[in-house]
Symmetry: C2
Subunit: 298 residues, 2 copies
């Protein structure tokens, strides 16, 4: 049987990005952390960590971390099935989630806020924001229990549920439209374009779809709200989820340049096959909220 | 004289986080990038890069990158003073900025949107979001031209300007207040608290100030808008900048738990002493906007 103290040390070093901080979260000394990692590697005859800054799990390390996540899930379920003395429903369940920034800024907080009358469990969320195309990597690396992303294929040992889609429209401010005298969308190729970060290819997809071009002039603005504010301020045009529009169109702060065109980003809920009852309840609540807020594609 | 092609190779490797992507942005082969770095190190007799994933600049490397930023500034100014043939005002000036997420989500986009009638320059922004306490590290590392953060001490070779302060209030949803029957703020220590990320210590500061305690139960939510939405959904309480409140109080979505208490986070504009005229114009516009949107502390 694996000594899970050793795996927890590995988990702490990877997620806390160092031996020092891992030691703090485990309430042991740094040399004790090193010893545990060393012991794990001696047992397995292979390194589990690459000693970079921050340290990274080797392929074997990733396997062990994924396994650890699954065992944690099983333990959660187990607790519930055992005598109630062992289950403290008042103790929050720690849930680590990787999710795309636009979900985080729109429908996800409501989805994670499980009402008391829905279930007795308390959750403590630790959310990691990642692009929808790469959020699943955290799941593959065994770093999170849940991932919300645009990839529909489950990871090894995982399962997946449809959530619906975020619908993106081509948006800018009325002043921007007027300043550049936009009469045809083909002009957009040459105009300042807002991009969330290096992974965000939505604007590129849109232009490719429109006329096979790519934006020549981009601003990088890695904040969902900042993105919208930059549009309102007239820094550029970009694709914004309809859920983020609020009353900006009615108030004349933003205009939809092409109401008949949109890009749908389908979203999926990834979790482990060994999902505990606590996370199952969370998932059911989240899917209910998603079904109200996101576009359901049939 | 330094061969700036070599420094640009170093800059590209550090900012693009790898030789492969550095090669793409420089339009040269990967082996040409390696050769330039090697040449630089041979010349200096000391490594400029630590070959981790991603590669990092050594202390010497950081010095060179800082120097490069300053030279770029000087070159910008130079262009303007030389014959107008060399100045294409239509070509955007690339400006890399590190800023705190709450500025990015509130007053900064407007501040960066310099109107045509204010100056002729065009800017292309690349923003990096960092906590206000560490955003200056990007400046120290010579990676950015401008940094917006809460530290008032200029970096070596840099200068600093006051912007005003973001004012944070203690906020939660009416449902959260009712659910936990909050009658005294001392109860907050035990209740779910929202924290932006590992660097965000505002909530800790507030509790320490209040009664010397620390939050026992935190959710981590690394998105400014997600933070606000999580409050509205009732996931927890936290400190929110007044600029982000909008009409949420009037609409009954949020409540200010302690209107007479606030934490001010002063913000500063850091730039290089060799600031070009383009960036000076940008700074003046930004300071004008900041003086309207932020709290001016006298």
């Amino acid at each position: 049987m694996i000594d899970y103290q050793l795996l927890q040390a590995l988990y702490a070093v990877v997620t806390e990005k160092g031996f020092d901080r891992a030691a703090q979260t485990l309430f042991i000394t740094q040399s004790a952390v090193s010893k545990r990692i060393y012991q794990l590697e001696s047992l397995l005859g292979e390194p589990v960590l690459i000693r970079t800054k921050p340290p990274k799990a080797t392929e074997l390390g990733v396997k062990l971390l994924t396994h650890l996540q699954q065992v944690k899930q099983l333990e959660l379920s187990l607790n519930l099935q055992s005598s109630t003395e062992f289950v403290d429903k008042q103790l929050p369940v720690s849930v680590k989630i990787s999710a795309n920034a636009d979900s985080l800024a729109t429908w996800l907080p409501e989805a994670l806020s499980v009402p008391e009358d829905y279930c007795d469990f308390k959750y403590r969320f630790e959310i990691i924001a990642e692009d929808q195309t790469i959020a699943l990597n955290r799941m593959k690396a065994g770093e999170v229990m849940i991932s919300i992303c645009s990839i529909d294929k489950p990871v090894n040992g995982g399962k997946v549920f449809e959530l619906g889609a975020l619908r993106y429209f081509v948006i800018c401010s009325p002043a921007f439209k007027k300043r550049y005298n936009i009469t045809s969308l083909h002009q957009l190729t040459e105009l300042p374009c807002l991009v969330f970060d290096e992974h965000d290819k939505l604007q590129h997809q849109f232009l490719t779809h429109l006329n096979g071009s790519l934006p020549k002039y981009t601003h990088i603005c890695p904040s969902s709200e900042g993105f919208k504010q930059a549009m309102i301020a007239g820094l550029g045009y970009g694709l914004l989820p309809s859920l983020q529009l609020g009353e900006t169109i009615e108030k004349g702060e933003l205009v939809n340049l092409m109401p008949e065109f949109y890009l749908d980003t389908p979203l999926y809920w990834h979790c482990w096959e060994t999902e505990s009852i606590q996370l199952e309840m969370l998932r059911c609540h989240a899917i209910t909220i998603a079904s109200k807020r996101l576009y359901q594609i049939i």
